[in-house]
């Protein structure tokens, strides 16, 4: 049964989601920061974590963006394959939603039209959009504005199969150590293992969307997530990189089949302002 959805409805939702994502984090993030502040061993680290909690309260109450880097808009669109779009072109509708959301929400325009020529587009478009088809007649939208303090610290490693899980662990720790204070710890670390070069990176970005109390369904991967989180929190980097026992709030790992000659590993670092809003239409 074909279900018709107007692209105008997509625009309205994206606009609202841009504003929501930049002023309120999902509840698992606030809870994680509170737990971290209680457990943190460094007095300065504790102070910083409390300030981050206070920052979230101020942001929501006074409608000031949690972080001034309101990010480049990353949008995931899961389209039920019985859906038919009516109206303008879907991609234009999404970008219009971002344009309106960033204007009306007093969000920062942080996108340049060309990576070398670097002239600001003045409306935070274009978004980076990832489409997929699923069963059914719904459209699931996820907006995850990505700030570049953390994005700039992300890495991809094309390992050899013989590097194995040891090589994977080394890659994750290397990325986190090299990031240090620059990624505004405590971090959320998204990891992709497998696929191709670009699929691996996408897996890592998608891993950042997972609720912090979630974990992989694959037993060895779940163990790896827990082990990596522990190892990272023993590096001593701490809140703001100024020393402490809370360097990461979670490590989420996604895996995918890969080529017999490859072992791609991507580490997408996110800071503690881990923003994502999901709506189903």
């Amino acid at each position: 049964m074909i279900r018709t959805i107007s692209t105008e409805e997509i625009t309205v939702n994206i606009r609202e989601m841009c504003i929501e994502a930049n002023h309120y984090l999902s509840p698992d993030m606030g809870e994680a920061l509170k737990k971290a502040a209680d457990a943190e061993q460094s007095p300065l680290g504790k102070k910083i974590l409390s300030q981050l909690e206070e920052n979230l309260v101020i942001a929501g109450a006074e409608m000031i963006p949690i972080c001034q880097d309101t990010g480049m808009a990353v949008v995931f669109v899961e389209v039920g394959q019985e859906v038919h779009f009516q109206g303008g072109f879907l991609e234009d509708a999404i970008n219009e939603g971002v344009r309106q959301g960033y204007l009306e929400g007093f969000l920062r325009k942080s996108v340049v039209g060309d990576p070398i020529l670097r002239e600001n587009t003045n409306d935070n478009t274009p978004a980076v959009i990832h489409y997929s088809f699923v069963a059914g007649d719904k459209v699931k939208l996820t907006l995850a504005p990505k700030g570049f303090g953390s994005e700039n610290m992300s890495r991809i490693f094309m390992l050899k199969p013989s590097d194995g899980i040891k090589g994977v662990k080394q890659a994750i720790i290397t990325a986190v150590e090299d990031a240090g204070p620059n990624a505004c710890p405590p971090m959320v670390v998204g990891v992709g293992i497998g696929g191709t070069f670009e699929k691996c990176a996408l897996l890592a970005k998608q891993a950042l969307l997972r609720p912090l109390d979630g974990h992989s369904q694959i037993p060895y991967v779940r163990e790896l997530e827990e082990e990596m989180l522990q190892t990272i929190n023993q590096l001593g980097i701490g809140p703001g990189g100024l020393g402490g026992t809370t360097t990461a709030l979670a490590v989420n790992i996604n895996t995918y089949p890969t080529h017999i000659a490859g072992l791609p590993v991507a580490v997408n670092i996110c800071c503690h302002v881990n923003r994502h809003v999901t709506r189903e239409i």
């Binding site: 000031i64 949690i66 001034q68 240090g180 100024l242």
Partner: protein, 182 residues
């Protein structure tokens, strides 16, 4: 050690800072980041004057979100300072005394801090809403065409920062982690 200081920040003041000190800054702070710093270099290369007095200046590496009506500024947390490493030594040699940002600096920058008795402060990354409340006034100084990257003059009150690199070259990012290695 918590200190309350007012701008301008001179070498007399910076000499007393130690990496790890918690400092509250009140007074005038200039805002400039990537694109503005690139233009500063071009201005200096042409033998022209910078848009504001550089002697004893405090520069905050930041690009704010737009201000709602009735507010001086939007969200205003620090940006990653290493992107300004290429430009900072020249400005420090011309008299700039303090940088506010976040993240590691190169040895060249640390050397420039030491030879100029300057200081590098970190503001808490991601605390943009909280930090915006310490900014009482914001004025456009130059390069409005750069939007969020324009040069601003801020009046701040009790703006909280941490001394990361002091005038002796001690670097908190290098020393702090060691204490908590598991």
């Amino acid at each position: 050690m918590d200190r309350h200081i007012s701008t301008p920040i001179t070498a007399e003041v910076t000499r007393n800072f130690h990496a790890g000190d918690y400092v509250y800054i009140s007074g005038v702070v200039y805002v400039a980041r990537d694109a503005a710093h690139k233009r500063f270099m071009e201005v200096l290369d042409r033998g022209e004057e910078l848009p504001f007095p550089i002697k004893d200046a405090v520069i905050y590496y930041m690009g704010p979100s737009p201000a709602r009506e009735g507010r001086p500024i939007g969200s205003a947390g620090p940006t990653t300072a290493s992107r300004m490493d290429k430009y900072a030594p020249r400005l420090l040699d011309l008299g700039q005394k303090a940088m506010i940002g976040k993240g590691k600096r190169t040895q060249e920058v640390i050397d420039a801090i030491v030879r100029n008795q300057a200081v590098y402060f970190a503001a808490v990354g991601g605390a943009g809403a909280l930090l915006s409340k310490c900014i009482k006034k914001s004025e456009l100084v130059r390069y409005g065409d750069l939007g969020a990257e324009a040069v601003l003059k801020l009046e701040v009150e009790d703006f909280p920062v941490i001394v990361v690199v002091d005038s002796e070259g001690n670097d908190l990012y290098k020393t702090a982690a060691q204490e908590y290695v598991g």
